[in-house]
Amino acid sequence: MTAPLSPESALESHFVDEEQPDGGDSGPIVSKSPGQLARARFLKDKLSMVALVIVVLYVLAAISAPLLVKVGFLDPYSSNQDLLNEFQLPIGAWGGISGDHWLGVEPGIGRDVLSRVWYGISFSLAISLTATVIAVLIGVTLGIVSGASGGWVDAIIGRAIDLTLAFPQTLMLLALSTVAIAFITEVLGVPAGPPAQSLYVVVVLGLFGWTGVARIVRGQVLSLREREFVAASQMMGASKFRLYFKEILPNLWAPILVTFTLIMPAFVSAEAALAFLNVSIRPPTPTLGNVLSDSLKFAENDPVYFFVPAILIAAIVVSFNLLGDGLRDALDPKGHR
């Protein structure tokens, strides 16, 4: 006997009736799996669909950027100082927007803003995605172990979560960055510059970001392990590992997916904040964060340049959050409302 595919399935199949369109007058009652139901609910949620489209566009942008830089369509590094006036601001209205530079050029140096933010999306998403994966992996593992073991293991992991939450992580990040990056390059042999800088951010975000996942997963595990299928499996002599990682884990993918989409945007903005504090990937390699922190000075003199990275970061953060909310509503309709 294997576990049901979705946490709702066994006990919540009555939803099948509720979800029949218009009372089902027009045709025979068709049974649907919980997955299909969730998809149907999600597709009906227009806001989530918009968010999904935006997220997909960002992902496509992130994947395409390195290729477009290679073929020369994007040029994030070449200066165009002839496009700047005596104050080193872009010549022309709207931050120097032109046929060649669709989002204008950077003040001071004249690099193409579109290329910088497009390429920046690549780095920002790669950093936040990797960090999210790390955080979720740690969180899920510790959450399951904690929920499954109970007793002193649970207590230790619980205190570890408290400790991590209580940690002044931004300050630590700043204070340790020089030492840690030196360690990464000298001891671990990672090339200096962007590789070492991004590794540091990824590791630190991941190491501090898992607590929420762990708590949610632990809660779910505590409730799931009382279910019949778990008890049955246990009676048939399944090992603890099998019990938790083969029986219970597959039932957790919905909350994990939701948490994933909620951690990801938090890390996108964390990257931006860290870039402002000179911790993330450093220029000239662009990230959304370091383009934003450069643009802050130009709020008055070049508002277009100021708003472009800010809007891009806001859009991805809001979209991921909406997507996460939409997923939660679709997968767990009882949870809210």
Partner: protein, 585 residues
């Protein structure tokens, strides 16, 4: 000064490259072409009124022997602390960097090849309490510098010159030690004699620009507790006798100052009846001060400020605001040092290729354009004796960079292109862009440049004697207007090298030929001979490409509409020349 300059540069990561408040007496310039509308500078000032000074940083001390900020040295010299000598208030750079007598009757006489200096005090010069300034006061003031456990923070060049050993300063000296000191710095009536262990040709510049040899009244001294106490001998005194670190002070007329003992035209007009300091050390203070000056707000019509206009404010300086604005060259130069410990930098042609392909014009533009910086052709700032275009860098004078010429040099060097190098600099949004321009130019010439933006510990990182970085950025301002305070401290290996650091010689450059020229300069008995040797030494540095000059920073000043006589001089470190400034009634 090196320590202090570098600390400040490194910690103001967000500021424009290397623009620091610190040090540098003299240097600077009155850049004629840059004097955009000197406004009412030409209006002869009248006495009276209240001048307001908006200061965006706190001083570190008000005790003359503990002062090192360039602007504070310059302003205190005009207002409260007269020295044996002083630099005159002249827009002519050469005049402004030539010391003239202040408390002394002449600019000093030297003997024994520059090892002995004698000054005689004027009659009738008085402290604010009415007592006479005596030779013993100068002797005592000079001795305080030796107590560097209590009297911290100020310049201490005199320590290595004055011919006395193991002297701990006046507070802890045994009678024998004190006697030995008083033999090295001796008084005979009103005549003070300094005996040095080596020649010091530019001693008068140091006397005028720093306060190491300023008089200090022994009865008034409380050692470290005197940090904020002021006993004035200039035209103003501090109300209450104590400078407040965070509030500043109100300066009022000092009745015991006699202009007849002074040369007010050359040294201090002392026009306002009162000077009010306002100190706001917050990060945004400088920008706020200048915002109010741009608007000419009612409470700042009589104000000047220590805060330079931020580049983001430049576009607002148009029309009538331009009449209250001054753009001048500063005493600070920036440069790049190839790292002589790095293997790829061993070949002089590789270093030449760097200099040749440097896109200096683009770099300056990225710093903010000609209002922010000017391309430099030597590391010695204009108006510093010995500043002359270095032939190695002036020759090509192609400040756009010549990638093709550089490529040929690399070919000649026989290295495999692209040559991988790293370039370290203290990070800031402006610096990040400026260095990206440099990177682009070098890449075009056959280098493959990795930028290494650094944080707060920048100067500690780059002074390590390793080959971590191939090229490093540095900034410097002369302590007094002599290349002696530029070239030897930055490139002489002997005072800089130790097993753990290259000191301020960031490129770890060493050349016997160069050091012989430095010795020649150090042992010169007069300034002209010294300058000649230093120009030669600079040429040698250029030949070896021990450094590549980048830019001379520019200062941008605004002032209120009632302020008269506003200008900057080399004597005021290119800060406003407070001795000339008055207030319209």
């Amino acid at each position: 000064m090196g320590m202090k300059l570098r600390r400040t540069v490194a910690s103001t990561a967000a500021s424009v490259l290397g623009l620091t408040l610190l040090a540098a007496c003299g240097g600077g310039s009155d850049d004629d072409s840059g004097n955009n509308g000197s406004g009412n500078a030409a209006v002869a000032g009248e006495k009276g009124g209240t001048l307001k000074v908006l200061q965006h940083f706190p001083y570190e001390a008000a005790d003359p022997q503990r002062i090192y900020y360039g602007v504070q040295l310059a302003w205190y010299r005009r207002l409260i602390y007269r020295g044996l000598l002083a630099f005159p208030m002249s827009e002519d750079g050469e005049v402004a960097t030539t010391p003239v007598p202040d408390l002394a009757t002449d600019t000093g006489t030297s003997s024994e090849g520059g090892k002995v200096w004698e000054f005689t005090l004027k009659d009738g010069v008085k402290w604010e309490d009415g007592s006479d300034i005596t030779c013993e006061d100068v002797q005592y003031g000079t001795s305080r510098v030796f107590a560097n456990d209590l009297i911290t923070g100020g310049p201490n060049y005199t320590l290595s010159y004055i011919d006395v050993e193991d002297y701990p300063g006046p507070y802890k000296a045994t009678p024998e030690q004190q006697a030995a000191y008083e033999e090295a710095v001796s008084c005979d009536g009103q005549t003070i004699t300094f005996r040095f262990n080596k020649p010091w040709a530019d001693f008068p510049q140091a006397v005028a620009g720093m306060m190491m040899t300023d008089p200090y009244k022994e009865e008034f001294d409380e050692g470290a507790k005197s940090q904020w106490k002021v006993l004035s001998n200039g035209p103003y005194k501090v109300e209450g006798g104590e400078w407040s670190k965070n509030q500043g002070a109100t300066l009022v007329r000092n009745e015991n100052y006699d202009p007849a003992t002074d040369d007010p035209e050359a040294l201090r007009l002392a026009l306002p009846d009162q000077i009010d300091y306002q100190i706001d050390p917050s990060d945004t203070a400088g920008e706020l001060f200048n915002d109010r000056l741009i608007q000419d707000a009612a409470d700042v019509k009589n104000a000047i400020t220590t805060a330079r206009v931020a580049p983001t404010q430049f576009p607002q300086i148009t029309g009538p605001v331009e009449d209250r604005y001054l753009n001048v060259l500063s005493p600070y130069t920036q440069y790049l040092s190839p790292n002589f410990n790095s293997e790829v930098m061993q070949d002089v042609n590789v270093r030449r290729a760097l200099a040749m392909s440097l896109n200096l014009n683009g770099y300056v533009k990225a710093l903010g354009g000609e209002v922010a910086a000017a391309p430099a052709e030597t590391i010695v700032a204009p108006d510093v004796a010995g500043s002359t275009e270095n032939p190695a860098f002036a020759e090509d004078n192609n400040n756009d960079g010549d990638p093709d010429g550089a490529r040929a040099l690399l070919e000649e060097a026989g290295v495999q292109t692209p040559v991988e190098i790293s370039l370290a600099y203290p990070t800031s949004p402006t610096a990040d862009k400026a260095m990206a321009v440099v990177q682009e130019g070098w890449n075009a010439a056959g280098f493959d440049v990795t930028l290494e933006p650094q944080g707060d510990t920048y100067y500690d990182v780059i002074s390590r004697p390793d080959d971590e970085f191939d090229v490093t950025w540095g900034g410097w301002g002369a302590d007094w207007p002599s290349a002696m305070t530029v070239i030897p401290p930055l490139f002489d290996s002997r005072p800089n090298f130790s097993p753990t650091t290259c000191g301020q010689n960031y490129g770890c450059y060493q050349s016997d030929e160069f050091e012989a020229l430095v010795d020649e300069a150090a042992n010169a008995s007069d300034v002209d001979a010294q300058v000649e040797s230093l120009v030669e030494a600079d040429a040698k540095l250029g030949e070896d490409v021990a450094y590549i000059p980048l830019d001379v920073s520019k200062f941008n000043w605004l002032y209120g509409s009632q302020v008269t006589g506003f200008t900057t001089t080399a004597a005021s470190s290119s800060y406003p020349e407070i001795g000339l400034i008055g207030v319209q009634q």
